[in-house]
Symmetry: C2
Amino acid sequence: MTEPIGLLLADDHPVVRAGLRAVLDTEPDFRVVAEAATAERAVALAATGVCDVVLMDLQFGSGMHGAEATAAITAAPDAPRVLILTTYDSDADILAAVEAGAAGYLLKDAPPEELAAAVRTAAAGRSALAPEVAHRLMDRMRTPAQALTKRELEVLRLVGEGLSNQQISKKLFLSQATVKSHLVHIYAKLGVDSRTSAVAAATARRLIRR
Amino acid sequence: MTEPIGLLLADDHPVVRAGLRAVLDTEPDFRVVAEAATAERAVALAATGVCDVVLMDLQFGSGMHGAEATAAITAAPDAPRVLILTTYDSDADILAAVEAGAAGYLLKDAPPEELAAAVRTAAAGRSALAPEVAHRLMDRMRTPAQALTKRELEVLRLVGEGLSNQQISKKLFLSQATVKSHLVHIYAKLGVDSRTSAVAAATARRLIRR
DNA sequence: GGGGCAGTCAATCGAAAGGTTGATGTCGGC
DNA sequence: GCCGACATCAACCTTTCGATTGACTGCCCC
């Protein structure tokens, strides 16, 4: 047998780290070589080259976000592969993670076998997406009619933060007419007829995160 | 030494269950006697009297909510104590859990020692609140000026679901004037001036959950 | 190179939301 | 018994939002 796969666990929850360790360290071809409770620490540890695969949470209590950390880690030459392991499957999160160079995106409610399989896939240099996540991306591809454009998502996110059309127009250097125009398209795609219900629908479909 | 404290782990995430088992089973006076991946199963297992303390998540993927399960468990005579162990500290969740008869409310990012201490406290029949949670409740008591009333929270929750004043008034059997009146008070307490920003502020302060 | 889509903007109109003032009834505490 | 907090409702007015229509640009794809 060859060298075991070295793992770095990056999660701010001690319980989750212990759980991952318990689940993964029992696999003979895995070895947990380090843990990080913050994204910053994960970046620093990954840079030392101690591990082959990083299991990265997206939400840390404070400080750097998991997607930023992923980008920082994968930017280096000879970087370890980064597997996102998070609770929520929001479209925005998935896209951000993939753009940041993540090799995979898993949900924390995944069964241990799936987890182990994804780690091996990532270590081999291939992409690993959880079935739910892959399905969501397929959906997004298959029905582009109801997929919001980048600009529309941008407007919707600001609406979700409680901004008025006036405030949004200033923030994005647009006229109010344009903001309204985007909103009309958003409402049509989401099947709603008000800003609050658009935010509710988008949150439910995990188009935006709260 | 006396009988060890029997624990039931109720969480839909295998990784979290493994983590809790790893963290708690090493304590000599604890013994994990059962696990449940759903709230329904947790209620059934708790009814058999196998455990002294239930560690209960609030959000399960589908089906019964943790707060409902807590109410069902604590309703029985000679019921085990229920410790809520969740990711978020929303006011609404905490109040619901306490009303359901929970003996304590902990956050998943708690260090293992705190966890163990809370379990012992609960097993001894006393209340165990995480410092952050206790602090939040203190705040709520100390500054009742900005604490929303039950009715106001009810209205705000419906606003967050995207309902119009008209729809809310019908749902709660009120006039629109009353709904507006509640909203005016909500805006004042949250320091905002629109329904969407009220939802945003309430979400940020975890007054309502998404 | 024409058609479709995304993004931008304008004008208009009715509906909804927000601000203000004021009023009533109930409940609990001092 | 009185006062304050809560909940309820009404009338009025202003602002914002949403719906509609139409138009111009840049871009990609066939």
